[in-house]
Symmetry: none
Subunit: 218 residues, 2 copies
């Protein structure tokens, strides 16, 4: 397969490292709905998405869950391989939200690479920093912001006002309406998009899931 | 100063790297209550604690806060230097909870070290993984755990940290730590008092029934 063109920092590896990594990456395909990794079970390995969509989530003892982040094409999932670092003291689960092609990278091989290669360790830092940012954002949403509510309400009102499902408005424009910064609006719209509630194109927001929007706006 | 004996992976650095790091680490002392880093302002630098106690927290627009983690002797704080990684897209604040001696490491110097040294990048990964684990734990607490459990756990941790059965802390202060309102904390403390678990006086909580606290914290 074309692993080399999907692994993000391929060119920073030595030929020997490239060979080792490629030989220890197993290509897999998962149907929509497949649980690829279940935190309680084992150290599955790192997941590199070729095409599709994975969802990382945590699960309570009572079976409640919350989505932490999504993995799309070329994204790398570290936390299906918490054994690569001593300090990763938690477990998440990974599910295929769409039919997904991906590689499973052997955790021991990746761990060894991280130890000898500053680029691999540095890239791992960037991936973890991205997830950390996602999770902190989520925490803030849960604690304080009801921006999702405000935004959902605004979109519903606009759609009713304009009598259309396709809103022509900039993210900055929305920010002015609901008292938030453009970046914050963009991030929440991305979240709505990932949830299948809207689709986004340049200065246009198409509303799809009115039921979810109404639930959010309550 | 004795920076070299406090920096965790000192021996994995080359003499040149050691020299560079030490020359770009500024020794500071902060009184209890000092805000050392305020996320909105700038990239302060990494903090290496020599002696004392720092608190890392996030702050809402309305001024609400919640503690993310504590930094004790020899701990390194990355997130007072989010500029060292592109993907660190959030801001936290750091406060001295006790009189604290620490070094501020120049972010550009650390960033350069991370790029060239696999041990430094790897160590950074471990530090971030620890914080990530802390924050995910917190998220789970907030989402799913009952307040009595969170409060019991907080009281036990504080007692261990301060090595005392008599905690000097306001209900508002506790609320900030565990992400609850003062009234809610007061109510739960009253419940604990009624159960004979604690006694309360002005800004002081005396722990009595450690067995019950431990049961609650499970």
């Amino acid at each position: 397969m074309d692993f080399s063109s999907y692994f993000p920092i391929w060119k920073a590896l030595t030929p020997k490292q490239q060979q080792l990594l490629e030989q220890n990456a197993i290509y897999r395909k998962a149907e929509k709905g497949t649980i690829i990794h279940n935190g309680n079970v084992h150290c599955t390995g790192l997941l590199l998405v070729r095409r599709g969509q994975l969802r990382a989530y945590i699960l309570s003892e009572e079976g409640k869950e919350i989505t932490l982040y999504r993995l799309l094409d070329r994204d790398l999932c570290l936390f299906s391989a918490t054994c690569i670092m001593n300090s990763l003291q938690f477990e998440i689960a990974i599910e295929a939200e769409k039919e997904t092609e991906f590689w499973v990278i052997h955790p021991d091989i990746y761990k060894a690479l991280m130890t000898e290669s500053a680029p691999v360790a540095g890239y791992t830092n960037e991936v973890m920093a991205t997830r950390f940012s996602d999770v902190l954002w989520l925490l803030e949403q849960i604690l304080w912001n009801r921006l999702d509510k405000r935004l959902a309400l605004f979109l519903l009102n606009e759609a009713e006002l304009e009598n259309t499902k396709t809103l022509r408005i900039t993210h900055e424009g929305i920010g002015k309406h609901i008292g938030s910064q453009r970046e914050v609006v963009t991030r929440m719209l991305q979240y709505f998009k990932n949830e299948g509630i809207v689709t986004l194109s340049r200065n246009t927001i198409e509303l799809h899931d009115f039921k979810k929007l109404k639930e959010l706006s309550k």
